[in-house]
């Protein structure tokens, strides 16, 4: 039995989640490739144990590890819509209109994309 049970995260309703505004992280650099696609470079956050092992293996304590992520055409078109002012629902609507998709299908793609970028620390919701 766990002594300190982790509190479950508060449940966010779909309507509330769609009203949040995705904001890009300040720690990233983005490069526009010749194909028009976007390449994002972002800092890698090591877990304490992994960081300790890296230090033991000789990594400088101040060394900053980065990772690169290249977005495809659809990822780039969502990325370009994220200006920090638009809400998730507005991004979905614009994305659906641009690609002539059903709103629900666009919602699944866009929210999955935002979730994935959020997991990597590239985006936050405001």
């Amino acid at each position: 039995m766990r002594l300190f049970k982790r509190k479950p995260a508060p449940e966010l309703s779909r309507t509330t989640a769609l009203h949040y505004k995705p904001v890009k992280s300040n720690d990233i650099t983005e490069v526009r490739l010749e194909t028009g696609e976007v390449l994002i470079e972002y800092p890698l956050t090591l877990r304490p144990l992994a960081a300790a092992i890296a230090r033991r293996l000789g990594a400088a304590p101040t060394s900053r590890q980065t990772k690169k992520l290249q977005l495809d055409v659809l990822g780039t078109s969502v990325w370009d819509l994220l200006d920090g002012q638009r809400s998730v629902s507005q991004v979905i609507e614009l994305f659906a209109r641009a690609h002539r998709l059903e709103n629900r299908e666009a919602e699944v793609s866009v929210t999955r994309f935002i979730k994935e970028l959020g997991r990597r620390g590239l985006l936050g919701l405001r």
């Binding site: 055409v73 690609h99 002539r100 629900r104």
Partner: protein
């Protein structure tokens, strides 16, 4: 904008407001959502032996008490519900849970011996009486012309009743439905957005990027005025065609992809069999496979 739309899935067919969208789908289960929450649910299946509304209600009560912690009680159907469902034997029920409540009807069709359970959730605004009645009036649980209509999300297809749904997949950007009868397997595909998927290439190049479609020698065709490609592979005529019938593997394959430019969609039909395929039937399936 259209006020209502068709929903058709595995022999069930009804009309609902255009704002209601399928949010859960199973072989014999549909749940619709109106953007603010679940608004309607349908379950159905064949009945063996005698049908009893009470037995169904008891089963539902057990399920519901586990899930929604609510109590299901019989409910006397209003006269207009009974009129709308005059072709069926009906029994009403209602339930109340902690956060939602609902009412519904269990139906039994003496013609096709199918039972269905339709319920409407009350917690969701928008499911008013007029809309509910329209849904019930349009509800059908068996086809009349031997053709089953499949209409969910933005696709609509019409297939012979002999083709049974085997598998389906609705992912963002890619839909796939697989049907089978004793002789053949038919896959319906839909991809979107076509412009992004094709990029600078054409349909043949796109087909080459998909494992199921790679390796053919496509030639140009048109499907209902849309540009497309098709090809087939089969054992050479004569004795090889007879020998393959003894093998368990499928040997006859047929592929057709077409582009709906104005809708930004790519459609495809793929068929496989151990016997020569009925291309006229495949043509009809392609003609009836469209986007709505």
């Amino acid at each position: 904008m259209k006020e209502c739309k068709d929903v058709a899935w595995n022999a069930i067919h009804f009309q609902c407001p255009s704002g209601w969208e399928v949010d859960q789908i199973g072989r014999r289960h549909l749940r619709l959502d109106n953007g603010q929450g679940p608004v309607m649910e349908v379950k159905w299946g064949p009945v063996k032996g005698r049908f009893s509304h009470n037995a169904h209600l008891k089963r539902l009560a057990v399920l519901n008490s586990r899930r929604a912690k609510g109590r299901v009680v019989p409910w006397s159907l209003p006269a207009d519900w009974k009129t709308a469902l005059a072709d069926f034997e009906t029994g009403g029920f209602q339930w109340q849970g902690a956060s939602a409540e609902g009412r519904g009807v269990s139906l039994y069709c003496p013609v096709c011996r199918n039972a269905a359970l339709i319920q409407f959730f009350r917690s969701s605004p928008g499911a008013d009486e007029k809309k509910i009645l329209a849904v019930l009036k349009s509800f059908r649980d068996h086809p009349c012309d031997g053709q089953i209509v499949w209409s969910v999300f933005d696709i609509r297809a019409k297939l012979p009743q002999s083709l049974q749904l085997r598998r389906f997949r609705f992912d963002a950007g890619k839909f796939e439905l697989e049907f089978t009868d004793n002789n053949q397997t038919i896959h319906l595909h839909r991809w979107a957005p076509a412009a992004a998927l094709l990029g600078q290439g054409d349909l043949a190049r796109f087909a080459g990027t998909i494992a199921q479609f790679s390796g053919g020698r496509p030639h140009a065709t048109t499907v209902a005025g849309h540009q497309g490609i098709e090809w087939r592979t089969s054992p050479s005529a004569g004795w090889p065609q007879w020998i393959v019938r003894l093998k368990p593997q499928l040997s006859f394959f047929w592929y057709r992809l077409w582009l709906l430019k104005e809708k930004n969609r790519i459609f495809a039909v793929q068929a496989a069999s151990r016997h020569p395929l009925d291309e006229r039937q495949l043509d009809r399936i392609c003609m009836d496979y469209e986007t709505v």
